[in-house]
Amino acid sequence: MEGEALVAAAKFLAAGICMGLGAIGPGVGEGIVGAHALDAMARQPEMANTLLRTMVIADAIAETTGIYSLLVALVLLFVV
């Protein structure tokens, strides 16, 4: 029982650390993407449509590592 409780505690801790650290990168990345896209849109409002498309793609790519850490956290919580 002692070992099982230890494993469960380690599981929850690991999931929390994984998700928390994994969210830093995408957060910073998407912030940079959004800031620069807004900058460009303010400078050239007629380009806003094209910029929005490119911005969403860049956001989705920046988000990928966050999604991976979410998957690892889910596997830790529900599968391991």
């Binding site: 449509n49 094209t50 498309r53 969403v56 793609i57 956001d59 990928t64 999604i67 979410l70 889910l74």
Partner: protein, 249 residues
């Protein structure tokens, strides 16, 4: 707490040592979305004018507006020849993913968004992967399409293949992870509010939890269900277009 994520309703088969799992709820909801889209499309088509100079009906105007939106927003940078081939597929993909995402917030027990099952989202990503090859071969021929894997240098061939597969995997995982993460948050946050307020506030804790729970659920369903559904469907379709465009143009 997470039982209505539909995990326990599963048929498991073992075929040749490989365990295959079917989730009846997911299959049923995915097919129901197909039926709903077909019915809505038929209804919209019946609103089209029969003669070119008939007055524009509301349904026809809606269709024209939708097609115009997709042509300009999603397929803005694609060559006109490819736009004609891709437009029906892109619109169908967008609305299928959108309605699959939105199915998750229906207040019916056991109903989940089909896209929060990896089988559905990865299946859609694989469909897009096969279509990239189809349009690549159609646009450039088999030889030149396969030669694209040897560029810029022939020794980068393994890297190109791995990059292709990783792209497809992350395409599917992105939709899956976003929708599943939202669904889990929609369940966990109101329950956590409830238990935290019950534990911390002495007498009025449970009442406070219930009053906080309703607006919180509404906000979470609106944001993670409706808004994220649109955003993720848009991103999924946009990336599909980008992947097809890279190989076909």
């Amino acid at each position: 707490m997470l039982e209505h994520l539909g995990k326990e309703l599963a048929f498991r088969f073992t075929v040749g040592g490989v365990e295959i799992t079917f989730h009846p709820v997911v299959i049923a909801v995915a097919l129901a979305v197909v039926v709903a889209i077909v019915l809505v499309s038929l209804w919209l088509r019946r609103g089209l004018p029969h003669t070119p100079d008939a007055p524009l009906s509301r349904r026809a105007a809606f269709l024209a507006g939708t097609i115009d939106l997709f042509e300009n927003q999603l397929l803005g940078g694609v060559s006109p020849r490819l736009v004609r081939q891709l437009l029906p597929f892109v619109i169908t993909l967008f609305f299928y993913v959108l309605f699959c995402n939105w199915a998750g917030i229906l207040p019916i027990p056991y109903i989940v968004a089909p896209t929060q099952d990896l089988n559905v989202s990865l299946g859609l990503a694989l469909l897009v992967y096969l279509l990239t090859h189809y349009y690549g071969i159609r646009a450039k021929g088999v030889g030149r399409h396969l030669k694209g894997y040897l560029e810029p240098f022939p020794f980068l061939l393994p890297l190109n293949i791995v990059g292709d597969l990783g792209r497809t995997l992350s395409h599917g995982f992105r939709l899956f992870g976003n929708i599943l993460g939202g669904a889990i948050l929609m369940v966990v946050a109101p329950t956590a509010t409830m238990s935290i307020s019950t534990a911390l506030v002495p007498v009025v804790g449970p009442a406070l939890g219930w009053t906080g729970r309703v607006p919180l659920s509404l906000i979470l369903n609106g944001w993670f269900g409706l808004a994220f559904g649109v955003i993720q469907a848009f991103v999924f379709t946009l990336l599909a277009v980008a992947y097809i465009q890279v190989t076909a143009d």
